[in-house]
Amino acid sequence: MNVAVVFDGVLAAGLVWAAAGALLGRDRYRAVILFIVFGLLMTLAWVRLSAPDIALAEAAIGAGLTGALLLDALGGTTAATAGRARRWMVLPLAVTVAAVLAAVLRALPVRSGPLPDAVSAALPESGVTHPVTAVLLNFRGYDTLLEVAVLLAALLGVLGAVRHAEPVRLASAPVLQAAARVLVPLMMLAAGYLLWAGAHRPGGAFQAAAVLAAAAVLLALVGMISGWGRPSLRLRCAIAAGPLLFLAIAAPLAGRAALLVLPPQHAGLLILLIEAGLTLSLGFLLAGLFLALLRSDPVDTGKR
């Protein structure tokens, strides 16, 4: 039997196993760890689906940042109290949903739509040579613009819901700090590379921002920077800079045929500018999601 087929089968089974363990297991700590394992298995699945951009984002954001958020939340939220009386109603429901979805999926005709060809045809005018970046920043730039707006709204919601009297700072960990002093500059270098590489190969603003955010999470965990109480004016300006730059580039183009159509002769430069701004702002935004939620007593297991 083909090795790839075995690998795909094992990976698919592993995904369902990790998800089931994360959702239905008794122990909450184990559940969060299994969820992180699930994120890493998803990363492998994206590689198998020849989607390296998603794999990078899943590893850094789906498994990394979400995992850090969930581990931090374990200390802050209390354990389950309610029972599982409705179990036998849920099982047939889930099985039916899965069966209907699978049947519909198998009934659909196997042919690729017109979009891959349309993207390759328009790629020379997009200013970049990597199709995913072309879609994200040029052909469907408004998706990305609105996504950043959603992120801003989410951060505002987090800051509004969690009010610290003063910024939380974790205990200083000297050995880990020495490691962080080596790792963080390398992470910033990697972020710069990912930003630049996005024009012609997998990478781009989101992945670069995720690495920057991971660096900030690392610094917070070893006690070198504190969490966010109320973000300072400078921090707020840095967060707003990327979206504002994006809007400033989008505004003069508003009169053209469609929304956010970049002029082909300047598209490469404009995309680089937008991505540089977004990397900075998204890095702060994603880091802020963690830093605003950072708890001073992460070992408290909720027995209050």
């Binding site: 939220t77 354990a79 429901l93 889930a94 819901a161 999601l289």
Partner: protein, 93 residues
């Protein structure tokens, strides 16, 4: 069965699993996990379905990339709201 179809079908299973768990489990943190598993299932169906003919399709890939970032933002907001809820419960006691 092609590999992409296998992943799309896995996506269906994950979506149903997440949906079932959302109804079954009442613990807020577990519901956030279930919501994320549902999202991952939808992403797998989306990309797997678009690429069944064997051609890599950048449009769903870009949209899933957007989706992952929005999912982490939604997760953080949900965790913040959970913490606020529990704090208010403690205050009320």
């Amino acid at each position: 069965m092609s590999a992409t179809l296998l992943y799309a079908l896995t996506g269906c299973a994950l979506f149903a699993l997440g949906l079932g768990a959302t109804v079954l489990v009442t613990e807020p943190l577990r519901r956030v996990l279930a919501f994320n598993v549902m999202g991952s299932g939808a992403f797998l169906v989306f990309v797997g379905l678009a690429q069944r003919a064997g051609v890599s399709d950048p449009v769903p890939q870009a949209m899933v990339l957007t989706g992952i970032v929005v999912a982490v933002a939604a997760t953080a907001l949900a965790l913040a709201l959970i913490r606020r809820l529990e704090r208010d419960d403690d205050d009320a006691r």
